[in-house]
Structures are given as C-alpha cells and as structure tokens.
C-alpha cells in the first residue's frame, strides 16, 4: 500500500525542472499583466471612437491617445483615489463611462483584463447581460461651481465667481466647432416635448457638465445629467490615427 502511494506520487508529480519552468512562466505573465494594468489603467491608453458624437472634429473609428494621470484616478473600484496632476479644464476632450453602464461583477474584472491583454485590447469579455466598457468621448463644458444653461442650442455658462453668462466659445476661445445643422427642425422650439434646452443647472462639486460637439446625438449632460469625476477616465491629448488627420487637442 505504502509503496504504491509513493510510486504514484512521484509518477504524477512534475519534476523540479518543469515546476521551475512553469513557475517562471506564471510569474512572467503575472508581472506582465500587472504592468499592463498599471500602464493602461493609470498612465496611458488608447481608444477607438465608437460614436459620431464629436463631429465635426472627431469621427467614428478615429484613434485617440488618452493620458490618465492628469485627472484623479480611482483604482480597485473606487477604493483608492490617486490625485491628478491637474483638474479637468473647460474644453478638454475626455473619455468617461456613462453612469448607467453596469460594470462587470468583481470576479470577472481580472478575467476581462486577461482577455484584453491577450487580444491587444480588441476584445472584451462578452457576458450575457452586460453593458460594460462602453466608453464615451465628449467635451467638458461646465466645471464645478459653474451655472450652465442652454437655450436654442446656445450653451451659456456663468463661471464660478463670474458675474454674467458667456457662451462656451467665449470661454474656450473658439477652439472647436459644433454640429447643430443636422438637428431636426423645430427641435428646440417650445412646442417640442423633446426639448433639450437646459434650465440653469448648477454644477456640483466633483461633477462636470459634458456634451458632445455633435449636438444631434445623445446621451450627454443635456439628457442624463452631470457626470461624476469618478467616471472620467482620462483626457484625450492626441489623435494618432488616421495618419493624415493626426493632431494634438
């Protein structure tokens, strides 16, 4: 009996060399994964724009470089806050998660990281009923302390401490164009129950008023309200693809 047991044991146990090799592979993968996580979650990442909501400036399929440490980041599901190098500024193009997007359950998050790692960020874990990883790219218009109102598609902002309302262009120095030409006729007339004009909205601390340059598309702060800084994942600094339209934002 005793002999058999011992015999089986040594038969099925991997030899020291194999064990060592396996250990090294696993260690290497873990370190690579950790490195990748830190790099993409905290330092830098890229996005492929999924929506035309930033037309005319940014098109679908454009690729953007996102810098993370400029803004505060929240690691491990908001447990750890790492302060940002600066605060989001008016006119910044940011990536953020819509606040109705469900996250993966905690136990699937690491699995998804592995999937993304091995597919070069091309694929996410597909679960039956998830809406995760739908990232929006839009522009910050209102900062904490501001009052924002929209009338007839003109965005007006009274900055915190300011005396009067100014348009978004006056405040940002005409750095971008917006698209309102394709909005349906009468969209912002008073008879339209779907009026996206916004009453005076005070931007709370820790929140931002974000809208897309293409005012025809939703969702953004006009329809779903202010965006918490926890949902803002980084600042778009550069379009690196397509090559002929490379530019720094």
């Amino acid at each position: 009996m005793g002999f058999n047991k011992k015999y089986q044991y040594s038969l099925y146990r991997p030899g020291p060399f194999k064990r060592f090799f396996l250990f090294r592979v696993i260690r290497f993968l873990l370190i690579a994964l950790l490195f990748y996580e830190i790099l993409t979650v905290y330092i830098i990442s890229t996005v492929i724009v999924q929506s035309s909501s930033m037309l005319p400036g940014i098109q679908r399929e454009d690729r953007l470089l996102i810098v993370k440490p400029l803004y505060s980041q929240y690691l491990f599901d908001k447990f750890i806050k790492i302060p940002g190098l600066s605060n989001p500024k008016r006119g910044d193009i940011v990536i953020y998660r819509q606040n109705f997007i469900n996250n993966y359950p905690w136990y699937l998050k690491p699995v998804n990281s592995v999937v993304r790692f091995f597919t070069l960020q091309k694929k996410n874990l597909k679960t039956n009923h998830s809406y995760n990883d739908s990232i929006s790219v839009k522009r910050i218009i209102g900062l904490p302390g501001d009052i924002v109102k929209i009338k007839n598609n003109v965005v007006q902002i009274k900055p915190s401490g300011g005396e009067r309302f100014l348009t978004e262009f006056e405040l940002t120095g005409n750095r971008y164009n917006i698209n309102i030409s394709s909005l349906p006729e009468n969209w912002n007339s008073d008879e339209n129950p779907f009026n996206s004009d916004t009453e005076e909205t005070a931007v709370k601390d820790g929140y931002y008023f974000i809208i897309g340059d293409n005012r025809e598309l939703f969702p953004d702060s006009r329809s779903s309200g202010l965006v918490s800084s926890e949902l803002i994942k980084g600042k778009a600094v550069l379009r690196y693809w397509p090559f002929e339209r490379i530019n720094v934002f």
């Binding site: 809406y131 739908s134 349906p184 969702p219 779903s224």
Partner: protein, 388 residues
C-alpha cells in the same frame, strides 16, 4: 414576489414605419410630421410613467422597444426618448432590446447604440434573396441587409438576433436554407425563423392567396439551424445556449407585462387569478387624450379558465414547457393529472417530455403544436373543466 404579481417586462411600441410591407398586419403607419411623432412619443413616456407607478413593485428586468420601426425615428428623437425611458425606469434592465430595420442603419444609429445601454439588437432581415424581399414587399435589398449586419456586428457587447421569414410564396427549400446559411455567417446569438402567415386584409394575401407555400422550406430551414447548434427553444425561435430572449420567455410563461404606446398590450393579474388585458387605442386622437381617457384603452377580462388555456398554449410552444410546480400552485390543481387522458396518446408517440418539474412537447412534438392544442381544448370542453 409571487408568480405573476409584478410585471417585470415592459414593451414599448413605436407605431411608425418608413413604408408598409406587404405581409404586415402590425399596427404601424408612415408619418412625416415630426411634431405629431414627438407628441405620440411623449404621451408614450407619460403612459410608461403612470403605468409603472400603478402596476410595478420592482424595477423592470427586460425592456423591449418594438414596432413598427423604432429606428425610423430621427436619431435625436430616438436618443432622447430612450434616455427618458431609462430615467423613468430608474435602472438599467438586464435585457434591453430594440428592433432595427436594416435600411435605417447608419453612422448615427450606430453611434447611438454604442453609447446607450441597449444590449440586444433584433434585426428584421427576413431574407437575403432579392426576389423574396420583393414578394413580401420589404423596403430593403440583400446588400443593405449585409451592410447593416456588418456595421451592427462591429458593436461591442451587443447580442444580435436576426428575424427570418420562410415559406414565402414561390420560395424553394434551397433558397430558405441559403437564407439561414447567410444569416449564420454573422454568428448571431439568436434567430427567429417565422413561417409566413398570409394574414387576410394584407396586400400579400390579396396577391398570393392562391399561390402555394412550401411548408418544407420552414421545416428544413429550422432543421438546419438546429443542426448548426442552436437551441430550438420555441416554435419559431432559436438561440445559442444562454441567449434565449428573456423578454419573450416572460410572455410564454404568461407572466404579467406592461405595454406602452399606441395599440400596445399589457397583461396584468389580480389576486383572484383573473387577468386583464389592456390594449391602448390605435387611433392617434384617442391615444393622445392621455390618462384622463386612459389612452383609449380597451380592457378584456381573462377568467382563470382563459388564463389556464393560454398558459398551456404558450407553455407548450417552448422547449421548457409548462412549469408544473408554479402553475399547479397558482391554479391550485394538478395540471398533469388534468391533462392525462390527452397526453398519454401523445406520449406514446414520443412527443411529450415530462420531468417532474415541467411538462413540454418534445422538439418533434412542437411541429404539431396546433393539433395538440386542439386535442387539449376539445378535452377541456368535454370535461367542462370547472374552476373552483
């Protein structure tokens, strides 16, 4: 929450279409009047708000925007409408389906879908064959079907469901199978394969009621799907495992559900196990009269007997069958024992699957769902089944 007490599914009807298909007997029409369309939508939101407060104790598990053609709305209208629905619902449902017609798929729609928490896209392909599309009067070409599917397939994290129609007058078996093969190229999570019914009062009926429909088209296409690894989980529906439509399962289980919008139907139940089927008006003025006139809603009362018959009729459509535990308890009777004289015969032919929990027709049995139900109804009439 006890069975049937709380509606967990919401259907929202968008009654507008770009052009009427020849076979269609759904309630839909064309309108180019934007403000009329928006008034209907905003009254629909009003109805959702009031119905939810009136009937629901918990949040919706499934949402389904159907039609008509929801995607025929202007992008801004559709986006705003969906956002308002989510605001009223106050939560993101587990399954959120929108029906899409291929000819309405463009960059704007894709953009909207990419950012909104819609996770199931039900695409009305019907056929990839231009002659067949012509016969049923679909406002779409095979090319447009392919293009739309390619664009939708590229979206991350959406379950795709394709609608196909089979046994179109003049269709031959190889054409029906060819449609299925083309659909499978996109590896959809779900396929609904319908047998074309020529509804009276449709132009298709007037034109083709004398032309033969080859039933084998549907049968062979269904077999092909089944053999390709799709669960044939309801007479006309096929899904990869785990991708069955939760919303439709709710209908087939005869759970309560709400329907909002013109001509939409809700079914709710009271403590006496009787149901009410509420159908909102399909006359715009009546619908727009709003809550004061109850949106012109017609109410049909369902007795417990009606409810039992429907539970059987719907349940036997699915591979899951009739949930005996829940329904015995609900109706306070033993359904298996009640139906024993009928199911014995069908069981001997191998058409019944019966574990202790569910009573169902087997896959081959479901091909005879109609005759089976006729047997059951005759029997119930004969024994004059009486509820206590």
């Amino acid at each position: 929450m006890s069975f049937r007490a709380d509606p967990r599914s919401l259907y929202i009807h968008i009654p507008f279409c770009v052009k009427k298909c020849r076979y269609c007997d759904f309630y839909s029409f064309f309108s180019s009047d934007d403000s009329f369309i928006r008034n209907i939508l905003s009254e629909t939101l009003n109805q959702i708000r009031i119905y939810k407060a009136q009937y629901c104790k918990s949040n919706f598990k499934t949402l389904y925007i159907g039609g008509g053609t929801p995607t025929s709305l202007k992008t801004a209208d559709l986006g705003f409408f969906i956002e308002k629905i989510l605001e009223i619902c106050d939560s993101v449902p587990e399954e959120f389906t929108i029906e899409i017609n291929p000819e309405t798929v463009d960059n704007n729609l894709i953009s909207l879908l990419a950012e909104l928490p819609v996770n199931r896209l039900s695409i009305g392909i019907q056929s990839f064959n231009s002659n067949m599309l012509e016969v049923i009067g679909r406002n779409c070409s095979p090319r447009a079907n392919f293009n739309a599917l390619e664009m939708l397939k590229a979206l991350d994290n959406k379950n795709l469901s394709l609608d196909l129609i089979s046994s179109i007058p003049g269709q031959i078996v190889s054409e029906a199978i060819d449609d299925v093969k083309k659909a499978l190229r996109f590896a959809p999570d779900h396929i609904s394969l319908y047998y074309l019914t020529l509804e009276k009062k449709t132009p298709l009926y007037d034109k083709y009621s004398d032309t033969d429909q080859d039933e084998n088209c549907w049968v062979e296409a269904a077999d092909y799907l089944y053999e390709s690894g799709y669960n044939h989980y309801e007479i006309s529906n096929f899904a990869k495992s785990g991708k069955e439509s939760l919303h439709n399962m709710n209908y087939w289980r005869m759970e309560s559900y709400l329907g909002c919008g013109m001509s939409a139907v809700s079914t709710v139940y009271d403590e006496n196990k009787c149901g009410s089927r509420l159908t909102a008006s399909s006359v715009p003025e009546n619908f727009l009269a709003g809550p004061d006139k109850q949106w012109g809603t017609k109410v049909e009362k369902l007795s417990s007997y009606d409810l039992l018959v429907e539970t059987l009729m719907m349940g036997f459509r699915t591979s899951e069958g009739v949930d005996l535990e829940k329904n015995n308890d609900y109706f306070n009777l033993d359904i298996r024992e009640l139906l024993l004289p009928v199911i014995e015969g069908w069981k001997n032919k191998g058409y019944i699957s019966d574990d202790n929990k569910n009573l169902a027709l087997s896959r081959s049995g479901r091909f005879f769902h109609n005759s089976f139900m006729i047997d059951i109804l005759r029997y119930l009439e004969k024994v004059k089944y009486n509820f206590t």
